[in-house]
Assembly symmetry: C2
Homo-oligomer: 478 residues x 2
């Protein structure tokens, strides 16, 4: 890692102030590891400006010196995009202002470094809802969630981050500060350029601020847990419930029995929701406007689902505490997996009609590869998105299982791709899925991405380690 020029550091110090520039290794260390512990980074300098203007000036300085930058929000990304490998690390952690809230218009304007949890709290003070929830929401930032087009459990009802952004403030790779912070729901005045910076993982610019949509809190929340025989029944149940409740379904999560067993084992005071055991479970949360008729409507819909044999059994949570306990079972699956051995994880989405057959076919193929693999499958079935996580067979050495990672992941992603699914439903590409970009994206699409990158960041200074670079290059060479 080459030394940074002295005059660069001096000018950086002038722009960032004494607190805005860090170079001591012990202080840098937390920013250089991520929580899956798969990647470890290095950087000559952490820049943490305390204003959008300072951030813009700093990026401009880097552009002058042609020094590459890795932007970082809350360091909760799951695909390694935020971990520098020698680039300057640019953190938004000091951009923490909740700038404005307009309760009547239902809009919220924040700095990019505001966490998802802080945004939700600011909305809740006015009895409004900022609906993007991630397990990492205490650390994950709005800017990071925009850069990765984060999803979570609320997408079914409220959409991805892209659907929640009304306007952005962005620092472009050349250091220009673009104020596109509109709060308008309707504005067709030329190309919607903010779309470029959503889901592009910091490769086209750095988001420094955003105007977000808020929603009314549904007056009544009802949570149910149901047991099912087969995954296709979950798809039927979703259609059935949508026919009654429309967009009032706030969450629709699938949980495999294996996943439930893991989390029951992990959380010692958790209890199985139903007496009966079934191969599959769904957790459904309804957000209804009528507290009086709500429970009856849900009960009636479940009875109908029972009659049609979509579900074997179900319970309605009778209190907020019961509802939270059910949700906790779903929320703690990831943590429960960690203690059980090595895992090969996938974040896939599929057309709903393809899910059941995919699960069958994939299970057979993986059983052949590594007999005894434990299938920890759970996720946002409402959006067709499953966390398809494979736990090592009991008794197999972790390294032996992980040695098969590439083979197994190719099998899974090939099956997904053949069924018009996605190999990265919500986590993004980062450095983790560069190979998949080559393998699965069409040449036309890769060429379009490459041309956008070339247009906005011709010097390739923004997050240069990320996917599209080598992907497009290799595709061209093929």
């Amino acid at each position: 890692m080459a030394e940074l020029p002295t005059n660069f550091i001096q000018q950086a110090r002038d722009i960032l102030g004494p607190k805005g520039l860090v170079q001591e290794p012990e202080q840098l260390a937390p920013f250089l590891t991520e929580w899956r512990d798969r990647w470890h980074g290095s950087t000559p300098l952490l820049a943490q400006p305390d204003s959008s203007q300072a951030l813009a000036e700093f990026v401009s300085l880097c552009a002058q010196f042609k020094l590459p930058i890795t932007p970082q929000g809350g360091n909760t990304g799951l695909v390694g995009g935020q971990v520098p490998q020698g680039e300057i690390l640019l953190s938004t952690r000091r951009l923490t202002k909740v700038r404005a809230i307009d309760p009547k218009a239902m809009t919220l304007q924040v700095d990019a470094g505001v966490t998802l949890q802080q945004a939700a709290e600011a909305a809740a003070e006015h009895d409004l809802l900022f609906p993007l929830e991630l397990a990492s929401g205490g650390s994950a930032t709005i800017g990071g969630a925009i850069a990765t087009n984060a999803g979570g459990m609320g997408v079914l009802r409220y959409g991805n981050m892209r659907d929640l952004v009304l306007g952005l403030e962005v620092v472009l790779p050349d250091g220009q500060l673009w104020d596109g912070l509109s709060s308008l729901r309707k504005d067709n005045t030329g190309y919607d350029v903010k779309q470029l910076f959503i889901g592009s993982e910091g490769t086209l610019g750095v988001v420094t601020g955003a105007t977000l949509r808020l929603f009314a809190r549904p007056p009544t929340q009802i949570t149910i847990w149901a047991g099912l025989e087969r995954p296709e029944h979950a798809v039927e149940l979703l259609a059935h419930l949508r026919g009654v409740f429309g967009e009032q379904i706030s969450k629709f999560e699938l949980i495999s029995e294996t996943s439930l067993e893991l989390v029951l084992d992990h959380m010692h005071d958790a209890r199985r929701p139903l007496q009966s055991q079934t191969p599959w479970h769904v957790l459904v949360e309804f957000g209804l406007s009528d507290p009086h008729s709500g429970p009856d409507q849900v009960f009636s819909a479940l009875e109908s689902a029972l009659d049609q044999q979509m579900i074997n059994d179900a319970i309605l949570a009778k209190s907020q505490a019961e509802a939270s306990a059910l949700l906790a079972l779903r929320e703690n699956i990831s943590a429960a997996q960690k203690s059980k051995g090595a895992a090969i994880k996938h974040d896939i989405s599929l057309p709903l009609a393809a899910i059941a057959e995919f699960l069958q076919t994939a299970a057979e193929a993986i059983e052949q590869q590594a007999p005894g693999t434990r299938f920890c499958i759970f996720g946002h079935l409402g959006d067709g998105n499953l966390h398809y996580n494979l736990l090592q067979p009991v008794g197999m050495a972790a390294q032996e299982f992980l040695a098969r990672r590439e083979t197994i992941t190719d099998i899974v992603h090939d099956l997904v791709h053949a069924r018009s699914g996605s190999f990265s439903a919500e986590h993004g590409i980062g450095i983790a899925k560069i190979g998949e970009m080559q393998r699965y994206k069409s040449p036309i699409e890769l060429a379009l991405m490459q041309s956008l990158k070339q247009t906005l960041d011709p010097d390739h200074l923004m997050n240069p380690r990320l996917w599209f670079e080598s992907a497009a290059q290799d595709k061209k060479d093929v």
Copy 2:
């Protein structure tokens, strides 16, 4: 208008087939006028391919010969973007297949030439809702609605066209056919390049197919009409109703008394909804899931609004026929205006908090300009979008009023811009608002648009008459 090269016409005929190529002036005429009668076009050739593949080959041919193209859907655009001025006219009118519908996944795949009405009918066959409704929906096409990011009355609940598109099939300016027809709700595999082709008015490529989101039909529809003293009460009422009904409000439309008078005069058997006369009215449509408690909830919310003096009076439609009659009052305002003289029209959006003061200030300024101007104001208040249409004073010569168009429009748009609003909420730019792009868009944003255009269409063949070209050019010269 130069003659087209003979070998071009020959190759075009081979690609398009005999029915796919029209050059006779009488046959071309309907495609060269638009319904506001403001622009009249000319073209040497209408190409109407019957497949995406043929369309791609034709665009490729045009690219080879460097011949510019104006794409056209249903010819219902309101800003002149679809009217060629010497370019080849490329119509999607023969791309009319409803390709597939998946009722459980709630997705619909169509050719770009399918009309909004046909899409809605295809969805309704499975008791599902395609929610984008425009008055022109019998002619307006899905492709055109995508190119213009169309809105309409349903945006409050269901979003703009951008929110309804899951995937696109697009012919790029060089003739490549990109199949991006995903039906996935969640897919974070690189840049979301389909966003480029939504709302870019045919300047970056031609949409030939789309996968769209469908919704459950709300079981119960309740329509109300309320009379109000002041526009700020409408904003209060919206917040009040959202607090009770959340996203179950399907439409929230503002209608000025002047607009109502015009439409009552125009539709001879229409009746005033309320006994009392008020300066403002709102029409609200609720889509509720509970047929039993719905009417009571609405009634109760209206009573509360009365108590708080947000509204003076209100009625609930007691039948579908009554509801349709109320909606017809709103839907026929545009037609009612036409017979009353010359009009200067604006399609604006504003932050909700700014609307009341804007209406006051703008009225005063325009009264100074043209005393006696009639203010025909109506529109999608829920989204902050108003059709701010000024009818000539009674007795003034039409041309005298229209001679003030530029002055008046500058006044209106300057006021809107100063309040962080938009000069084109839903209609787009076309050739009508090229001057506004110069006047109101930031240089950074124009430069970004220009660079996108340069990247995707370096030969400037796609819709070259449109806004960004001269806008960016002039801005640079300033």
